[in-house]
Symmetry: C2
Amino acid sequence: MNYRGSAKKLLESSGISIGDLILIEKDDVNYQGMVLDRSADADDQHIVLKMDSGYNIGVNISNSNLKLLEKGEKPKLDLKPLVIKEDPDKKDISIISTGGTVASIIDYKTGAVHPAFTAEDLLITNPELLDMANIKGKAICNILSENMKPEYWVKSARSIYDEINEGAYGVVVAHGTDTMHYTAAALSFMLETPVPIVITGAQRSSDRPSSDAFLNLLNSVGAAKSDLAEVTVCMHAGSDDTYCYLHRGTKVRKMHTSRRDTFRSINTTPLARMKEGEIEIITSGKGYKSRGTVELKLNDYLEPDVAFIKSFPGITGEIIDYHLDKGYKGIVLEGTGLGHCPDQLIPSLERAADYQVPVVMTSQCMYGKVNMNVYSTGRRLIKAGVISGGDMLGETAYVKLSWALGHCEKLEEVKKIMETNIAGEIEEKSSLDYFLQ
Amino acid sequence: MNYRGSAKKLLESSGISIGDLILIEKDDVNYQGMVLDRSADADDQHIVLKMDSGYNIGVNISNSNLKLLEKGEKPKLDLKPLVIKEDPDKKDISIISTGGTVASIIDYKTGAVHPAFTAEDLLITNPELLDMANIKGKAICNILSENMKPEYWVKSARSIYDEINEGAYGVVVAHGTDTMHYTAAALSFMLETPVPIVITGAQRSSDRPSSDAFLNLLNSVGAAKSDLAEVTVCMHAGSDDTYCYLHRGTKVRKMHTSRRDTFRSINTTPLARMKEGEIEIITSGKGYKSRGTVELKLNDYLEPDVAFIKSFPGITGEIIDYHLDKGYKGIVLEGTGLGHCPDQLIPSLERAADYQVPVVMTSQCMYGKVNMNVYSTGRRLIKAGVISGGDMLGETAYVKLSWALGHCEKLEEVKKIMETNIAGEIEEKSSLDYFLQ
């Protein structure tokens, strides 16, 4: 370690090593966190802690008292590969890892979190999963989800397709949380599935005391064994560790930067509650697709040149023109209120219609649905050919437009697909009640 | 009216006119709404209703039974101007109207809502306000707020400044709801105020039975008379008509396309509850600015060339380059999770830093705060010079960056302003508890 001088002495005299969870009492304030290493050229007057909030802080050691709360364990990367025995009484579940916090470890030198685990490492860290099913792990990439791209959605869909074709009773996808809902929507459109496809992740890495990785994985394997044969997201339901929600892949969104219950169904309820690996359906009569009711099918062509543009008071039509000039094939606008944007964009939106480029309107309110019939501004947008996104999330509309453009050419066909419910993304009986839940 | 033949006969025999609230019983379904006129070339088999949801529907009249629920009144546009007598015992409150639904009427021909009222018309429709204060009305523009522009923010700020200078005890701004929170943030930065500045609006126009205009206006006038001398938004707190919330202008957002309680404080609590025009402070010890504690000051220069860009999985660096090439002076990114965007944007973000163009990171999660220290992606962004938006809303960061660039030139100064709390936009002690409230 790089600690030296007074800081090193203090740590050693308290029996504290890097990675340990400690409490520093100083004046009237207590600091609790995991001890990180310092850079080689740092002074000897500070100890660096990773707080549970994710922040790193440097605490000056003068007048401070250190208490060891819990010895930290370094990630068990040096463990031997597991020997997995198949149990004929258990279901075959495939875990496909794409990376993300659920498959990450902390770098004790900088305090930053890096994607590092493979699907097998996931099992080594969470061996209890092997009691629930015969688990087959496969890593198809190893990235934080902010770097997910449409081409990786396609790769993921094809891997899942192969796993199901080869007999998987259900599939779990380990994924970063940042863009998990975009991937969930993409898989929802690309795959017609006779078995559950459950996407999960974590807000805190497995080696942190407050990690949500295990509960999310456990419940995801439970969901993969259930009757609910849709693409879903399985994440913490509340801030405690009691249960998870299973959200429909096209109606879910990351709503908080750091809370573990960050994923929320928007304009609908979650499909189910998952507790200790057991499912409780809570669709309140809206229904869901049962295991085995459709044939496995892959529709994986996506148009990559689709833009997702936020409307704001200072926006000009030039940004629409830029995308048209660059040859973009579709645009999703995140408008204001019921689905509006400034009148000054209309000439450029009319130009998009002339170019046969579909423009889909969604709302940055997120809750509620687009209705361009109420105000004069909206009526002008309809006249300019803008397609309503209904109660679809902007993120889902962006993914769906990429998919629709991959499957048909004519503007009228694309418009029809966008306005038709394909994978639960449009709630036919949308209710005002589903607000901030 | 354009109804003819069977439809006209049915309406007349039921004593129903355009604008009336009626119930159509047909087969097993009931349709309730306001009767709209039809277009001149329409058939005689349908009656068009404006539903409470805002939707217009055409109901086929065969096998249907009509019931008049409530006679509609056309907007009283033909009333004579009010003669307003000053009462020395009452406070002087100025209402500045910019347009929006609160100042709109329905077009009975098309069912669309148009901005139509002036500030004086607001008083004619809501004469009870005159019992609360000596009210002076002024219309500075008449637009739906999706057409608000930074230049109108400046115009509004100057008008408010003049009203306060001329002795207004408080100011109410009537505004459309679509971009109300952008304007609220802009006024928060542009005005240091010794009196309350309260922005309000409506989700349903005054001539609709479910209008929220009156309650919002009544409580806004109450708030303008109170001790809370900040820029606030006053809108319905719940879906009933009992009270309103007073939200800090920099921490509020429209969260539902159509609900009347659409405005929500994000990452904090509302400042106060307003009931029957009376204020109840609920800041739970966080404090607020009292009347008279600062001198009136106007800081109204805004840089117009600021972009607000949403990150998404298929985004490329070209969109950043486009804005740099066009001479944009600042960029606010709406990143994912803790404040990330794909690594492929980094070369363009580094170019922005070379051009001395500030790039501010916010999160599309909306709840929680940006922390680019946790993951390797975030650390690369910090290294590329990206400024953290903290727990600021993306909308507020966009407005603040326009304001900061209007008030200083050097990148380092702009960075410092963006990271410093100016008008309550950065919550020093941000709590995880303020989620979906």
